[in-house]
């Protein structure tokens, strides 16, 4: 479903991704872990076609997303959802209008059909009753839920999550992860979750990949990662200050 082949990306002199290859099969959810500022979100934006690689390919259902024409890219993205770290809600619109926005702009549904879809989507993320509030009037957790609801109205085949629990308290963070897990079981989307939510994330994903120094240092099932004998992986997942990873 998603194949990343020998991906390279530099910003100026900083080569942030130095040859990454990953395969994510249909219906699988991959957790992408690694230190802050190491290129996880950059990798995710390549998968969404928001950034173009310097070298390498990203195939979505066999199509190289970086080389698609505008119309083809729109078609691929039609089946893709992206939960941004900050939610990326349109701050001048209410929760309802945010979720209704893609349906109004990209479909020929009438307002009654849109309303039904939006209310259903909001109910699924536990936001029934919050329709008339603006993004600035709701909590961080509700912003993420609204953003998730906005993606769910499409019933995406691929969901990309950029740190979905960052900035949330542990209880709300867990509720977001449970929501992702529940909706994955319901819709069977293929997913990539960029996260620092360790070890909780290991309960809801099929695979884990750890990005370190621009390459995939370790990849496998959550069990493979937890039992890895790589000292860098062990230091990172245990959050130890002392070890081979320098934080200076």
């Amino acid at each position: 479903m998603i194949q990343i082949q020998d991906l390279h990306k530099s910003f100026g002199d900083n080569e942030i991704i130095q040859g990454i290859s990953l395969d994510i099969n249909k219906g699988e959810v991959l957790a992408l872990i690694g230190g802050s500022g190491k290129g996880k979100s950059v990798l995710l934006k390549h998968v969404a076609g928001l950034l173009k690689p310097d070298k390498g390919r990203i195939l979505i259902n066999g199509k190289d997303i970086a080389r698609l024409r505008s119309g083809e890219l729109t078609q691929v993205r039609r089946h893709m959802g992206f939960l941004f770290q900050g939610g990326a809600l349109f701050d001048s619109m209410t929760v309802y209008d945010n979720v209704a926005f893609p349906l109004r702009e990209k479909t020929k549904m009438n307002e009654a059909e849109i309303r039904e879809k939006v209310l259903d989507s909001l109910a699924q993320v536990g936001l029934a009753g919050a329709e008339d509030r603006f993004p600035s009037q709701i909590s961080g957790g509700m912003v993420k839920r609204t953003a998730f609801a906005r993606e769910l109205v499409w019933h995406p085949e691929i969901m990309l999550f950029d740190e979905p629990t960052t900035g949330l308290d542990p209880i709300i963070g867990n509720s977001i992860l449970n929501l992702i897990n529940d909706l994955h079981k319901k819709y069977l989307f293929t997913g990539i979750i960029v996260t620092h939510e360790i070890p909780r994330i290991f309960d809801i994903v099929d695979k884990v990949a750890m990005l370190h120094d621009g390459v995939i240092l370790a990849e496998g099932t959550p069990h493979d990662i937890v039992t890895s004998d790589d000292p860098i992986v062990q230091q990172f997942i245990k959050g130890e200050i002392d070890g081979p990873i320098s934080y200076r």
Partner: protein
Amino acid sequence: MDMIRRLGGSVILIVSRIGLMGLFLIKTVFYIFIPPLKFYRLLKQIRFIGAQSSFVIILTGLFTGMVLGLQGFRILEYFGSDALLGPTVALPLIKEMGPVLAALMVTARAGSALTAEIGIMRISEQIDALELMGLSPYRYLFVPNLLAAIISLPLLTAFFDVIGIYGGYLVGVKLLGLGGGVYFGEMATSVDMKDITEGIFKSLSFGVIIAWVSCFKGFYVQLAGQGAEGVSKATTQSVVLSAVLILVWDYVMTSIFF
């Protein structure tokens, strides 16, 4: 050697930025002709750029006309030509001051706000979200702003001119005692359609400059800096660059076309 390298680097940077701005304008114009036009968004932007700028246009137009009337009357009276106050107020207003001052006021009021809005949308990933929904920011954000500015600026300029002429009338006729018939009669004799067309064409082109620079500076906010500071710098750059381009382009148009 180091100085030459830095100079070369600066030149390359300036040329590449000009190229980037040029491509941005070409792409925006290209999207005008690709349906569907976001009509509701266009109306919203006409309201924002045009209708909501009316008050500041009334104020500046009135006082510009009043000061032209006052200064003009004093000078003309000295030469015994105070009957020519009407054209003295109307011609500079219609040909130069109306289009330029209206454009500068719209730059300050709406252009700065557009850059800030688009810049914030950029840094909070709202524009990325638009693209992922398959909505081009060119079609959704920039085309409505460009068309709204092209539609609004000539109307605001006409508004500015009329209010300015009335301001000159208030001072010249009501305050200083010139005959109303003389004021408007001489004006009607001296101002012809070519003068009005000149002002309208200028205001159209200023509309393009304002929308182009404001949207470009917002969309490429990261060229100015990161985060809130980047938005702040981009907004300042947008206002300064728009104002300078308006004045330079005004001279170019006047010297070449009129």
